[in-house]
Symmetry: C3
Subunit: 378 residues, 3 copies
């Protein structure tokens, strides 16, 4: 057995070449999730409970630099059945293994060019790794409106003013059909822009919970605008293809995200707003008869606040409201979540649990959900 | 090229952190199998021979401890087409990659809590890794009645009396639908209990062949009882879902295993008995018409004995009898196997070959099978 | 973070055991490809342009020796959706992950026995790793006639005469249905023979581009003959199974390859000829009605020449002609390609781009294609 200088949580392998020609991090992670759910009828009572176990995520991750510290790579593979689901004729009927396969080139000063498949610069909650959430999982806002991963180019840039005031800008052009597509581009491309301001200096703004217990207040505010030109899927670059009797229905879809993250002395507050619009949300065949597919236009709001105690227990409250456009659905979801996390080794080894109450309108049964999750991230 | 202190068979990587915060083993293995089969009609002769080649298993394995030596992990991935087969709507139509994803926590003295997906404490032959078999592959008893892997919790405990007499107890609660299920629990849970006695001290009781050439006789005796409450699959947590016109047929399924392993001076003897019963083996629709699915109730017996020569060649004989309940099938299989193995580097590099004669009743043709397999396990 | 003596391009891990009991290389690679295509009608003009992005290949690779330097292994996994596509009932409806899983045993002097799944000794362009091509991708000759990978045995041998004149011979017997087949052999086996002559000494004859800038002319000439006895697939061991109303249509398929590679002072020239014949190219049912499947008999020729400048830019021209037998198709494809590559770190980090004009007969529209690809190979 060899001895390594590395510590737990820094990867199974974590090396840098003596000649500085490359570095490599190789990590593994998995999450075990237990979920219990009950229906809550409007006239009271709790019924139809069921409890499920799931390997929620299982991943292999590779990161580092190659050739020069200015050229970095990220290669991440999903392995759990939930990670790789979504096979279709558009993915060669093959599971979707590759999450990220991207090169990042710092070609000039504060500019960095990204090429390959990775997350688009959308809402903050999505871009935060699922390994670094302060909640058991992302909010309903994210599951309805996020723009996930795609393949293409991104240009990243940042400016620092007065030592602490940071402005970041990202522009992206992508294929617009989501990740692991082998049938190429249909319709037009997807264009995304994002701007961020960090007025009080850099911090872990893409990681949940104030594990650093910031001694000065830290804030990050972001706005993303995404324009999917002639999109052919129901949730911009996600959801299902809008197939017509002669091909694909195409419509321009716009998604807007506003988000903010604040951290200070163990307190972490994150808020997000999402809005989606489409030129023609109702997919139609060539003869104008509806195909049944509808773009999920509408809006959502999420706010969550947590406090990390000295013993690395964190309590958290979350409120999420999803309000689709009435053209898409009149169902409004309001979800109230209370969470408790124990960070044994930061985000690398943690136990997270939460209880959520989902209030539905339209005389639908409300829902109660309890979850317990272990995260292991070597 | 770096120099490692490790030896072949101890992993591609095998490290421990200087600060004892983690250890990591990363190994790969694959098996190449050649199989020749012939039909043997009752009136004599041999016919319809065919020979097939197969990458039987291909795996990535990760093991070690993290945070503390009291918290160990196992993460194993299957990669061959045989390993990952079994995709269905219940696995998100995705291949079944993850074999094990489990954390084991030695929280108090001799107690260990396991959480995640791994093998249930069923029959010994199943729990022995396929890498450590003394045969080309497991017996027909195992393929008919084993309870394989599932997701849930296991509590392990052991007692040592008089320095050598060891008692082990395991209780397990699992989802009961098998591994890599994304549709959650249907019906009830699966409860498993196992007890083991090692009267003459600890030894490699979950590894085939007496590679250690025990100088004193060693014995392990085990009994497992598995109760799958409201099971919905034809082989307890394996086989196919028993789908009815209104949902799923549910019945309680009980599986019992008795097993023993003996090793002494190159001799290894293993015997197993399995029995499966179900409250209502015949699946029916709501109107009591049969769906066609039947639980594979019945019993089986397996015994095998091998001797390891000084030159690491091992000869082995095996007899397996599978006798289903007549309600399930009147077909009785008796299989006689003669095996020869050469252990080049223990179980890490070996060549195994066997010839089997399968005697079937009911005027069915008997079968003759020859197999040759290489195991490579870095 | 640990320090490694390795350099970029030699693997994420590259170790040899102190006791010489094993060595291990573990590498990762991925390719990001952009493709733009246009139709070119016979009456002129360019139309119907479309641009696609694709993670073309993504791989994990393991290589080294085990037990003894005379026993080497190769284990390679494909991960991109293009790599793993091709699931069918013949692969257990599972994606085709495993590319190579092979042991190579140098059992006597210049003899080496290979066992497992790997590339057959077919045309040179196919056997050159996709990581080491001097073009964006292989030629049309290869996509129509190559015999790819299969499972079985290969015997390799070489002779050296007068220090520099090298003769290599390979004979192979394989299952003949391609890689990752779980349904075993149908029809007969596939027999392949290959002979190679290197009159001016050894060189990188399975790698594109003269990165070594050979100071003396180097030449490799090869011939492969492949006989797939009672083949059941339309492209020998590739393509689709020829299913009839009673089983499978079987016919003997013969494929011949001639190839040559020349390298000298930055110049690299490669030429290949392929020819396929079948006893009965038209698949028929038992009553002699055609099933619609036809074996892709015919021939093809490819020649390419490149020059590597001192700054590691390479220009390359390629001409490929595919001329199927008229029984299969009367469509003749002539493709003209102009390529430009920049080798940042040899084949390990490179940018490749090419433009191709495909001239089709039979009044079909010609095609224009532009491609840009990044290769990253840690």
């Amino acid at each position: 057995q060899d001895i390594t200088e590395n510590k737990f949580g820094k990867g199974l392998i974590n090396v840098v070449a003596k000649d500085s020609s490359f570095s490599a991090y190789f990590g593994i992670r998995f999450q075990s999730l237990m979920t219990s759910k009950w229906d809550v009828p409007e006239n009271g009572g709790i019924q139809d409970g069921e409890t499920n176990f799931l390997i929620r995520r299982a991943r292999l991750k590779f990161e580092g630099f190659a050739y020069s510290p200015k050229l970095t790579y990220k290669f991440e593979l999903g392995l759990s059945n939930r990670d790789i689901s979504g096979a279709s004729q558009f993915t060669s009927n093959a599971p979707r293994f590759v999450l990220d396969a991207v090169l990042k080139w710092n070609f000039y000063e504060n500019f960095e060019l990204w090429a390959g498949q990775t997350k688009l610069p959308g809402n903050r909650e999505r871009v935060i790794s699922s390994a670094n959430l302060e909640t058991v999982d992302r909010s309903l806002l994210n599951s309805r409106y996020n723009i996930d991963r795609d393949i293409g180019l991104q240009l990243h840039h940042f400016i620092t003013i007065n030592d602490t005031f940071i402005i970041r800008e990202i522009v992206s052009i992508a294929q617009g059909e989501g990740r692991n597509i082998t049938t190429g581009n249909i319709g037009g491309y997807q264009y995304t822009g994002r701007a961020e301001i960090l007025p009080f200096g850099d911090f872990s703004d893409y990681s949940g919970a104030d594990l650093e217990r910031e001694s000065n207040p830290k804030l990050a505010v972001g706005v993303s605008y995404d324009y999917n030109d002639n999109a052919v899927k129901t949730r911009s670059n996600m959801g299902s293809y809008m197939i017509t009797d002669t091909g694909f229905f195409e419509t321009d879809i716009q998604t807007l995200f506003l988000d903010a993250l604040f951290k200070y002395e163990g307190v972490s507050i994150m808020a997000e707003y999402a809005n989606r619009e489409a030129d023609n949300p109702f997919a139609v065949n060539e003869d104008s008869t509806p195909t049944g597919d509808v773009v999920n236009i509408g809006e959502a709001f999420n706010i969550q606040a947590g406090y990390l105690f000295e013993n690395n227990y964190q309590v958290l409250g979350r409120f999420t409201s999803v309000d689709p456009d009435d053209d898409f659905s009149e169902l409004v979801e309001n979800q109230y979540t209370l969470g408790l996390s124990k960070y044994l080794v930061g985000h690398k080894l943690k136990v997270q649990t939460d209880i959520s109450y989902t209030d539905l309108n339209q005389d639908q049964f409300d829902g109660l959900m309890y979850r317990l999750q272990f995260e292991f991230h070597l």
